[in-house]
Amino acid sequence: MSVLEITDLRVSYGTAVAVDGLSVTVARGEIVALVGESGSGKSTVALAALGLLPRSAHVDGTITVAGKNVREATGEELRQLRGRDAGMVFQEPMTALNPLHTIEFQVAEAIRNHDPEPRRHKHYRDRCVQLLERVGVPDASKRLKQYPHQLSGGLRQRALIAIAIAAGPGLILADEPTTSLDVTVQQQILDLLRDIRDTEGTGTLLITHNLGVVADIADRVLVLRNGKVVEEADTDALFANPRHAYTRQLLAAVPRLGDTPHDEEPERDRTVLALRDITVEYHGRKVVDGVSLSVGPGEFVGLVGESGSGKTTLAQCALGLVTPRGGTVDVFGGKLTHKARRRLGVVFQDPASSLDPTKTVEQTIAEPMVIHTRTSRAERRRRVRELMDAVELPQALLDRRGHELSGGQRQRVGLARAVVLGPDLLIADEPTSALDVSVQAAVLDVLERLHQEFGFGCLFISHDLAVVDRVCSRVAVLRGGQLVEQGPCATVLHTPEHPYTRALLLASPVPDPAAQRDRRRLATA
């Protein structure tokens, strides 16, 4: 019996169509993945299933949850269906929980909402403890009294899953449940979702952009593009033999370890960046602890680690934005003076907030020239246009502002700005993390081409080991502010020495169901 049945769903906002004729069923005990890039309409489907779309949405088609017609349900019927017949897990566990209420209140409320005789929240305490223990929250009774901000991201997501299953629904709608989590935590959450399916027989509609996650956990996959399903298949079949061109394109865009051959690295006697024994403290807590790292001319060095490992702090030391408590920062063999900054470019993670919203693309790219050089206006115009070509942006965008561009376009502008003075060193902090895979692939291509043209050395920060393997020749692994391992990618990412590097590698899901099953066996062994 299916717990979710959607037929010919069409959702539009005014003239913009978000979902276009989508049909999907989820049976008990089945995990169905809805995969697509941003704007493909995948979240809209989950919200529509619970009648949670805003009033401005125009909805057509039929949606049946646990045999009940969602679109014809009254307000009270909908309320009863939400949580009892289908629970929902969201992407951002921090904002998805109310910051002013305890975990107990929020879990108890999920039970209480479906109790025919609702009692006071504390009446449900024992059940709350059971639920938190079920989703693997340690010290569950202690956690009940805590507020969301006192929990780590992984624990918050577990609490949200506890809320989703509190009223024993037959269906879980999970909208990017692991996207904001570190890979090792992601693996634990996926294990939990799998375990809930295995023991409670819950059906799951998993919405994700991550093909590795799909390969890891899904039974069946629907590939979405611009609101339309372009391909539907069993997971093994889809990865083994993708029929639609878009599916193939998506799969090809996912960087994989070992795709890029690494040449023997020459010994370098000069450096463009040398960090020696760097230590940084915030309020007496060491966030970077004795890290030494160098980047040679023209060399790409990857810096990987999970959140809180000190990657960004280290980059800020290199940029002179953070003064380390101990150790030395050498840029181009000396201190980071105003003159040296001219040879230093930087790209940030979030392209939306790292562009000045009041400046046009042309002004943004030209700004370093205005600050550091005495080039004429005509010369600047020429140079900006050259760079627009180099990052493959049409000249028509020159007068646009940041909010008028897509994420990929913004990051290209960021890249153009970073290299406009022909830097010798580029600091790139998660430059593609906020982008879709196909956009990421294109931006990485641009970065490689710029590298060939300008020959800069680069400190490339990322949490994605496959991306680092693709663009870097050397890699350093950070954990809790300490360097656990560094060396050529060919060694560190393929025959790692340190157990943490091995754990990281095993935790990053690969877009290949068979390989993923083997890795799981290895990880649990």
Binding site: R79, R84, T95, A96, N113, Q150, S152, I163, A166
Partner: protein, 319 residues
């Protein structure tokens, strides 16, 4: 929490001290000084010199300030030049009346504004919201003196229901014995605060209704009423509460105008007269009172914030 309060109190003391320094210096830098204003245009230079010597104006400003501070610490705010009364006695008579006026109108303002803001936010974009928003902006754009005039014309002249002037008398009992005379000044004061607070409450509620946690609450089957009052309401209050706490100076300056419009015998009217007569001791006294209430207002807001928001109260997870 005790440490937090102790630190805030210390900070409050420093702020009040700095306010006295700044007002004292600015007042005493005024050319001519208060002598001419107090003694009149016909005063001879000898009389002026005598006045300045008696009041210590012939000394350096730091020395004068030191004298002022020593007297202040002993509870002596000086004597009014024009009214020949202790400033502390004057403030003792006037302050309760002003507090009655500002507290009542602020409280009424909050009582009207918060529910109104929530109501507008829930009905956002519908006719009822558009109409009340339009009216709110008209009221927002109306200066207090004009609003007072309109109230006087409407309710004291066209429909003579309430008196146009507040009851006169030395103590607060005289005001309370004629409550009808309080209605118009309080209404004018309420108009000042209610509109501003309701706008803040509306936008804060609108923002919170769009938050992820509201979606979570809905997705687990929480009734809309519960979502609004147990989830959205406290979250919306967190930002509005501090805004209300910090609005004490605005309320006071509103009251200055209201008091002079309705001849309400409060601190505002006292300040008004003192400012025209260069009555330094009174001016300093009133500014001190306003500084203390402002600091207390923001302190109170911080405490309320502390009580509703666990993120301020309980340290978070170390990432």
């Amino acid at each position: 929490m005790t440490r937090f309060l102790a630190r805030r109190l210390l900070l409050a003391l420093i702020v009040v001290f700095l306010v006295t320094v700044v007002t004292f210096v600015i007042l005493h830098l005024l050319p001519g000084g208060p002598a001419r204003g107090v003694l009149g245009v016909k005063a001879t230079q000898a009389q002026i010199d005598a006045f300045n010597r008696a009041e210590g104006f012939d000394q350096s400003i730091p020395l004068q300030y030191w004298d002022y501070l020593v007297r202040l610490v002993h509870g002596d705010l000086g004597t009014s030049y024009t009214l020949n009364t202790d400033v502390s006695t004057l403030l003792g008579e006037r302050l309760p009346k002003t507090l009655l006026l500002t507290a009542t109108s602020t409280l009424l303002g909050i009582l009207v504004a918060l529910p109104l803001g929530v109501w507008q936010a829930v009905r956002r974009g519908r006719a009822s919201d558009v109409v009340t928003t339009g009216l709110a902006f008209v009221l927002y754009a109306t200066p207090v003196f004009f609003l007072s005039l309109v109230l006087i014309i409407l309710f004291a002249q066209v429909l003579p229901i309430f008196p146009a002037q507040a009851a006169q008398g030395d103590d607060i009992a005289s005001l309370l014995s004629q409550p009808a005379s309080l209605v118009l000044p309080v209404l004018a004061g309420t108009g000042v605060t209610a509109v501003a607070y309701s706008r803040y409450m509306r936008s804060s509620t609108v923002d919170n209704l769009a938050e992820d946690y509201v979606r979570t609450a809905r997705a687990k089957g929480t009734p809309e009423r519960t979502i609004l009052w147990r989830h959205v309401w406290p979250n919306s209050l967190t930002s509005v509460v501090s805004m209300i706490g910090y609005s004490v100076p605005v309320v006071f300056s509103g009251s200055l105008v209201v008091e002079s419009m309705f001849n309400y015998p409060g601190v505002g009217l006292l300040f008004w007269t003192a400012a025209r007569n260069a009555d330094f001791p009174v001016l300093l006294g009133v500014v001190l009172v306003i500084a203390v209430t402002t600091v207390l207002g923001s302190l109170l807001a911080d405490v309320v914030q502390l009580l509703i928001d666990p993120r301020v109260r309980v340290p978070g997870v170390k990432s």
